[in-house]
């Protein structure tokens, strides 16, 4: 899932200050699962904003709603009347959701209520960890299903740097050395011989480095009479 973390209330209060009527918009997708921007958080952030403004004697009208997903137009359409009523939207979705709302309502100010962190997993209750860098061509099959681009702080695909200590990364003892994880996995599945294979240079053109990406599936597109 996409993991996000809520922004500081004081920062939100400041950025929304010019707008009297605000819609706090939750998303039922990843941010609900990672407890950053679902219905529950919409309630909490709305209450916090109301209190914060009231302390200053400011009058702001805070509306709340949560849709199934902010990254699909089908669900965004549902809230058209609510968006028209307010001066600004505070989207608690990931960065994609925020932009999707802004694209649909081009004349409405839209602000992010969370910081989008990474593609990751719930490691244990209360702890989410990064697993995927969305490089555009998954290579984990060569590395015992451990991603060197994500798990190694230097994105090294051809072995560990000289900085690892006791299986931990030189960046922080809190971070596992990605190459220790790869080594342990390959050992466990009997594929240590893979370590001698030279890794090809990473083709960064498949990643964001190649420009903003798009996936097109012709078989899924709705053909209009003009598009043939």
């Amino acid at each position: 899932m996409i993991v996000a973390h809520r922004k500081n209330i004081q920062d939100l209060k400041a950025i929304l200050a010019p707008h009297k009527k605000i819609l706090v918009l939750g998303c039922g997708g990843c941010v609900t699962v990672c407890l950053a921007g679902g219905e529950r958080e919409v309630g909490m952030i709305s209450s916090a904003l109301r209190i914060a403004y009231r302390v200053d004697g400011d009058e702001h009208e805070i509306h709340e709603t949560t849709i199934e997903r902010q990254c699909e137009n089908q669900f965004i359409e549902e809230i058209l009347p609510k968006v028209q009523e307010v001066d600004a939207v505070l989207s608690l979705a990931c960065g994609a959701g925020v932009q999707s709302i802004a694209e649909r309502y081009p004349n409405k100010p839209v602000y992010p209520g969370v910081d989008t962190k990474f593609i990751g997993i719930l490691q244990e209750q209360g702890i989410w960890t990064e697993k995927c860098a969305a490089c555009g061509q998954c290579i984990v099959g060569f590395y015992g299903a451990v991603c060197p681009l994500t798990r190694c702080s230097k994105a090294q695909v051809d072995g560990p740097c000289g900085g690892a200590r006791n299986g931990k990364c030189e960046v922080s003892p809190e971070i596992d050395c990605g190459w220790q994880l790869i080594y342990d996995r390959l050992k466990a599945i009997g594929q240590l011989d893979r370590l001698l294979d030279p890794a090809p240079l990473t083709d960064w053109s498949k990643s964001h480095e190649g420009g903003c990406r798009k996936v097109v599936r012709e078989d899924q597109r709705v053909k209009t009479p003009t598009s043939g």
Binding site: K154, G162, G163, V171, Y183, A199
Partner: protein
């Protein structure tokens, strides 16, 4: 000769080489390099110019190396994958070669979070092994990484680093093998303090015959205080410092003298290990101690590479009209 560098000539001739390491200034003061050159000229065979070591901004390695060359030293430029993508690396190699620089040490580089610009974006477009392969390809095949050809190739003697102390230990010799197969001609190791682990590492190196494919130069780091040892033990990644050594420095009346003694002893031990082709002295910010250490290790005078064979003047044949 792959590069014709002095370092290559000496290693090929079987000399036990001595390399040094200079930190370029944290300013635009080129004069510092001229001054520091005095500590190296005539005492070491080649000098590494570090590349923003510990991710702290300093004068660039290539420009420092040009200054070192002008001051009579044989420079080894260091090149990390942290600050440059493949375009910048190749263009720097072309420029360095045009200035007469003939040695390069290919490194991953310390992570930017360890230095004085922790908010910087790192590059890591390619790995150090890819860098080695790229330099070899430029030199031997006259090809850029993209496959396009060049007219005049950078003739570099290619170095890599090896750290016997970093985890996973079992992988370290494999990694060195990959670097040598990619094209590394010489190897400079992490500073050796723990000789037991180093000897074990060299045993594995010899088992794979790696010492016959590349020249292995052992890192020696002269220290002048217990504090320095403790700092490295705690903060410098991939270092192993035995407690006996810390106790020995702690009990010394003159820590500087003790530091020199330890360095000299380590050099002697390295000379006794099969497959070690030289030592690399890296006295971090204590370059002035180099002449003393080299002299007391009995490594003076430094050898000069044999002069290229003069062409024998042929018999003068009188021209007949």
């Amino acid at each position: 000769m792959k590069s014709g560098s002095k370092l290559e000539k000496l290693l090929t001739a079987g000399e036990f080489v001595v390399c040094g390491e200079m930190s370029p200034p944290q300013s635009a003061d080129g004069e510092q390099i001229r001054k520091k050159s005095e500590y190296f000229r005539g005492f070491v065979d080649a000098v590494n110019l570090t590349d923003n070591q510990s991710a702290v901004v300093r004068m660039s390695s290539v420009t420092s190396a040009i200054l070192a060359l002008q001051n009579g030293l044989e420079p080894i430029i260091q090149m990390t994958c942290r600050d440059r993508n493949r375009l910048a690396m190749q263009s720097d190699l072309l420029g360095a070669s045009a200035f007469g620089i003939k040695n390069v040490l290919c490194l991953s580089g310390d992570h930017q979070s360890m230095g004085n610009h922790p908010h910087a974006k790192s590059v890591y477009d390619i790995d150090s092994i890819h860098l080695i392969d790229m330099v070899r390809n430029m030199r031997d095949e006259k090809k850029f990484e993209c496959g396009e050809e060049m007219k005049v190739e950078p003739r570099m003697f290619i170095g890599c680093a090896a750290n016997p102390y970093a985890s996973p230990f079992e992988f370290r010799v494999v990694r060195l093998q990959k670097k040598i197969e990619a094209g590394a001609d010489f190897v400079q190791t992490q500073a050796v303090f723990d000789t037991k682990v180093f000897e074990e590492f060299m045993k594995l190196v010899r088992q794979r015959g790696l010492h016959e494919k590349a020249h292995i130069i052992a890192g020696i780091l002269p220290v002048r205080s217990t504090k320095a040892l403790l700092f490295m033990k705690e903060n410098v990644s991939g270092m192993s410092i035995p407690d006996e050594l810390i106790n020995r420095m702690g009990g010394a009346e003159d820590p500087k003298e003790e530091g020199v003694k330890i360095a000299v002893e380590l050099i002697q031990q390295m000379r006794g290990i099969a497959g070690v082709a030289g030592v690399h002295l890296m006295p971090v910010m204590w370059e002035s101690i180099i002449p003393t250490v080299v002299e007391r290790a009995g490594l003076l005078p430094r050898p000069q590479p044999a002069a290229p064979e003069e062409e024998q003047p042929g018999e003068v044949i009188p021209t007949v009209d």
